[in-house]
Point group: C2
Chain length 343, copies 2
């Protein structure tokens, strides 16, 4: 395996001094990139995800075209419910649909938990191929959805503004909820360890819907499972936790084995530092809509963001996924502004 | 005008001592109430909003049937864009649609700002009728959407997960954005003053989408207009501001002329108190999905919430609108648990 030529991200996660922060963007592979859109017209969603050559090609696009300091595998968080035996439909531009949701104890018992990482072998193949193609240019990030966020989809069956069906399930049948969350956690740990073995240099856990939970409920339904995953996987590779909307959990999570915490744009950098001390690397938190602003403004606000976080123990990123309607040169301006910081 | 028999809410907003907190629920009039659903089958949305007798009947339903300590007029925040000349369509269960959005300077110039309160005379008639029918039982709450939230709909044209079209408009054409926000603010101030004159004992300003903004952008596009409204209207009646998702603004807003601040459930009561000192009355913040939990759990968590906020300078409420699928007896359990607090 080739030595990494650009190891800024790994250094930042270890807390080592860097000359400038590393930069990547959530959802950087896909959506807004014309070359991705061409592939989307030829291959459907799961073909793109399940064909290692296509996933690899898509993963490399932003490294080549936008100049990010890390590649994140093109895949989806719902491959886990799929590997556990659930049907997942993905209609372009419409979001996911899981026609048969989890509702009963029997539904949870029916979920597959053995050999799921073998069932997801196409992910491992894509990681290994991408790692090879990267040839040490930048680190490769693997990822998974957090148990709470996956429960939301598995119980609700689709996206939702409130996920109240999923929450009702948790509030009325907490034993079933914990049984389901633990199953997802066990599968996710094996999955992320397999990703590390296949070539991921680090992994991120996306808790996209954790902000739907009150601070008290986050501690019940989200945090214990995030901590289990961080503890189990960080023996192999650094783990970044991204509990979107859960700024209230930053202090607690800064005391775990997670190397990094992702932030959305609702938290000022200074406050995030204050809540987490120097205990953890922070990642974020540019408002994705701000990439629609004029380029000079993007550059100015990127500088202010880095001023706020400081150079060390920091990974420049967006506060959520890049929007499909962002012009590529605006994405590039974001990346360039980080790279030029301080020079 | 009859003297209020139950003035708990007004006392709480003035910071006077109370024996227990007042309680009401955002969106308490409508949605989950069987008698409302019957009216919905007979009259379309704007007929219900624009017919004072119907609006009055719907407003009174939760006072009679759930026992809340305040009535809030059945209406909609989009009556303002409508009165300003925009077409607003409301498809049952689908959310609002504004076919011709605001995009240019000329579009803003074309918005009507004079006599809008006369164009909304049906709201004043509904308030006066409801005030009369209430006969002093409980205070009557008027309301309006906050300028930022109305801009979101007027520019985006419909609901959105990110409101990135509205944000792009603000980030790329800030002068136009401020011109629009000021126009909405001017109209809203006149509207809320007219509501006070027509019988509203207090008003609430709903900034439902303020949490989409970073703390820095909130200070630019939301806060100045909220403050203008609070300053202008609080000379007539107490003003509650509800900037959903913008916990980061609590401290700043506690230094304004607003009598109350609404909170969603992402903030712990103790932290909200800490951020706002004793300067303002706090309102909220029960997770609306928690009303789907078993009744004993609702009662237990209501008690914990009041323990956290304390009895004085506090208004028990949800952290957002009540969900359509909440059983009426669960809503009643929420209200009863507040009423029985400490006894």
């Amino acid at each position: 395996m080739s030595v990494l030529k650009n190891d800024l991200l790994l250094k930042a996660l270890k807390g080592e001094a860097v000359s400038r922060p590393p930069v990547w963007m959530m959802r950087q592979a896909g959506r807004y990139l014309p070359d991705y859109i061409k592939l989307r017209q030829k291959y459907d969603f799961f073909t793109r995800v399940e064909t290692p050559e296509l996933a690899c090609e898509i993963t490399l696009q932003p490294v080549d075209q936008v100049g990010v300091d890390a590649a994140i595998l093109f895949s989806d968080i719902l491959v886990i419910p799929q590997a556990m035996g659930m049907e997942v439909l993905m209609e372009e531009g419409k979001g996911p649909l899981l026609p048969k949701v989890v509702a009963t104890d029997a539904d949870i018992d029916a979920l597959i938990t053995s050999d799921t990482e073998q069932r997801l072998d196409y992910v491992m193949k894509a990681l290994t191929l991408t790692k090879q193609e990267l040839n040490g240019r930048v680190p490769l990030i693997g990822f998974a959805g957090a148990p709470w966020t996956l429960l939301c989809y598995m119980v609700e069956g689709k996206g939702s503004k409130t996920f109240d069906k999923a929450k009702q399930f948790c509030f009325t049948q907490p034993e079933l909820a914990h049984k389901l969350l633990q199953k997802i956690t066990d599968v996710t740990i094996k999955y992320l360890k397999a990703q590390a073995a296949a070539g991921a240099d680090l992994v991120q856990v996306f808790d996209s819907w954790s902000g739907m939970l009150s601070p008290a409920d986050f501690k019940i339904f989200a945090q214990p499972y995030l901590v289990q995953i961080a503890d189990a996987v960080s023996t192999e590779v650094p783990v970044i936790l991204f509990p979107k909307g859960s700024w209230y959990a930053l202090e607690d999570l800064s005391h775990t084995s997670a190397a990094g915490l992702g932030l959305d744009w609702s938290v000022r950098p200074e406050l995030a530092r204050q809540l987490t001390g120097g205990r953890v690397t922070l990642q974020g938190n540019f408002d994705p809509s701000k990439l629609l602003a004029p380029i000079p403004q993007i550059r100015k606000e990127v500088k202010e963001m880095i001023d706020g976080f400081g150079i060390n123990r920091y990974v420049a990123n967006l506060g959520h996924g890049i929007l499909p309607n962002v012009p590529v040169d605006h994405a590039r301006a974001f990346v360039d502004a980080v790279k030029e910081y301080g020079s």
